[in-house]
């Protein structure tokens, strides 16, 4: 079970000699990602301010980097990589499906409420 760890990350691009080494490797990777996020958040490059699918490019990058971080925390720190496929899918896909559904419904509704205010049917600035 948990005694044998899979030691390759990035689809086998990087292979570690021991589990301890892999942990430090993942830490370095997560740190780099966090530094990129903070740097982008402070600099806010003008080029990334363009809208893409209703949101700024920069925000998409933040969300994607967050999911990348979440993946490595779950796969390597929580040892999801070493669990059986069935357990992995039960946990991950259940959560992802329900969360995507919830986000879609709520953001859609929030946008609608904004439009109702914005079109002046309800006054909020007085």
């Amino acid at each position: 079970m948990a005694h044998e760890h899979k030691l390759a990350i990035f689809q086998g691009l990087v292979k570690f000699k021991s589990n301890t080494q892999k942990i430090w490797g993942v830490l370095i990777f997560l740190t780099i990602v966090t530094i990129i996020e903070v740097a982008l958040g402070i600099v806010k490059p003008e080029a990334l301010m363009a809208k893409f699918l209703g949101m700024k490019m920069l925000n998409w990058i933040f969300i994607i980097l967050t999911i990348v971080k979440a993946y490595y925390i779950t796969w390597d720190f929580m040892h999801m990589r070493d669990e059986t496929k069935a357990l992995r899918r039960m946990v991950v896909w259940t959560a992802i499906f329900l969360i995507l559904y919830l986000i879609y419904i709520l953001l859609q509704e929030g946008g609608y409420v904004f439009d109702v205010y914005d079109n002046g049917y309800i006054k909020k600035d007085f």
Partner: protein
Amino acid sequence: MSTAVAEGKTWGGGNQPLKASYGKMMMWFFIVSDALTFSGFLAAYGFSRFKFIDAWPIADEVFTHFPFLHGVDAPMYYVAFMTFVLIMSSVTMVLAVDAGHHMNKAKVTIYMFLTIIGGLIFVGSQAWEWNTFIKGDYGAVQTKGGNILQFVDTEGHRVALKDFVVAEEKYRTEHNRKDGLWFVQEGTLPTYTVGEVVKGLEAHDNVLVRTQIINENGEKTVLSRAESLRQIKENGTLVVEGANLHVNEYGSPLFADFFFFITGFHGFHVFSGVIINIIIFFNVVLGTYERRGSYEMVEKVGLYWHFVDLVWVFVFTFFYLV
């Protein structure tokens, strides 16, 4: 193998299709349900934000403080530090789990101890964040409609109320239970009244009002001098200093509500994680798992600890970055 034996193995509980122990599987169940709870909160935050998409506070302007660096504009550096502390304590946790697989009691002890320290630093940092947020630093005026008017100079830099408003003598004192109706109590009164703010604004030509509305450049709209005076005089009803669940000098009260609720709920998870870690730490020191022949308990509490880290990664993105 006869049919009876095969059936006994298949249906009698002899199979372990997931190859995970009962405890670990239950921890995963809990984590999935807790993940959905947090997603509910964050999605509700998203809902409120989309509802006020043109007037939501800009996180960079709210969280600008760093301990011991007063007056330095340091957006996000401290949260980045907090994130790093939590990731680091996740690393020590996973190292403890690894040492547990090798039955190395001394190493498990050290790594568990470091994890607890990391958790405490994080909870302390969060308390500091809350304190800074509640105190506020510039002050603002709330309108009848519940919108927030902030003050800037002609270059667009924020101006604190105390820099241009003079407090006069007040006849109104804070009502305490002991002074009158024992079942009525009120919060701290603001330092200034709206009348005093109007006077201060009239006396300082270089102070302008900034509204919540975000313009095309992604910045808050600054009003002209005449419009500033008009807004404060006609619509100003309350001076707001800092933030609580009702009012908030940074903008929409919902922003403060969600900040308190989500970071508070997460902080509570970290706190309970620290407590559980301490219990496990003492069990390790006492040799409970050495006698049991397995450090799986460290692994289970480790799953919870990593989950707390995982949630923070999302809170960090949606509260501070996006």
